[in-house]
């Protein structure tokens, strides 16, 4: 529930100890901040990486956040790369459960 001085409330970092496309996401994923995540995924894709998202520290996700994940999944099918949500917080799981999209989460 915190924000930077410039109002940022979503932070995306690359997991240096893992494959290049593993992104660690922290903060609140809503319509405004989903743009930041999309940009970071785009950058990883430009480098040819498969995408795995660690959402364990995402404290809030709304329908726009979910939509952005579904969008990446659709692209992974059409463009032929791997995509999964590797870790998910309770807040993220709640949205998956409500909308029947738990298959996004890696088993």
């Amino acid at each position: 529930m915190d924000t930077d001085d410039d109002g940022t409330y979503l932070w995306v970092s690359v997991d240096e100890d893992a494959k290049p496309g593993r992104l660690i996401v922290r903060g609140e994923l809503d319509a405004a901040s989903a743009v930041e995540l999309a940009d970071r995924i785009e950058a990883a894709r430009a480098a040819g990486a498969d995408i795995a998202l660690d959402l364990a520290d995402v404290t809030f996700m709304d329908s726009s956040g979910l939509r952005s994940l579904i969008e990446v999944q659709r692209r992974s099918e059409s463009e032929g790369f791997e995509f999964c949500v590797a870790e998910a917080s309770e807040a993220v799981r709640r949205v998956f459960d409500l909308t029947g999209t738990s298959s996004l989460l890696a088993p």
């Binding site: 609140e28 405004a32 979910l66 807040a91």
Partner: protein, 142 residues
């Protein structure tokens, strides 16, 4: 396709009382944080608060995207029950049953946020009035 008649908004009795929180044109994140703060000491359980915060965030996002300013949020903390209204100067969704039918929740088709809000709250009531459109979200029981 026939469209159902627009529904007239009927305020609940609590709405005649002074709200515990009023926000004008809130960003969704501001609405979430203010509501969490308000409900910190309420008797609602964590899931109820999380769900109400999620539902309000969806409705505020919709109001900013599709409604007409000003967007006004009012909240009443009644211990075991929390009531939030979000109003804007627009007409609301053309279909008063928006977000009700499962078909409408296909991702990317729109209406997903409102559908989720309906799942997360005990009560979702919406309708039009002289000043625009209001949606009421309720969790817990009186």
């Amino acid at each position: 396709m026939t469209m159902a008649e627009a529904v007239t908004y009927e305020p609940s009795t609590v709405e005649q009382e002074e709200p515990d929180l009023v926000l004008t044109d809130p960003e969704p994140i501001g609405a979430r944080h203010a509501l969490r703060l308000l409900l910190e000491a309420s008797a609602l359980d964590r899931q109820q608060v999380d769900d109400l915060v999620g539902a309000v965030s969806e409705v505020v996002t919709n109001a900013r995207l599709y409604g007409r300013p000003p967007v006004r949020l009012a909240a009443w903390d009644r211990d075991r029950q929390a009531i939030v209204t979000v109003s804007d100067g627009g007409e609301g969704p053309a279909d008063p049953d928006a977000g009700v039918r499962p078909a409408k929740r296909e991702v990317g088709a729109g209406g997903l946020g409102l559908w989720m809000a309906r799942q997360m709250c005990e009560q979702v009531v919406m309708g039009r009035h002289a000043d625009g459109f209001t949606i009421r979200l309720v969790v817990g029981s009186a």
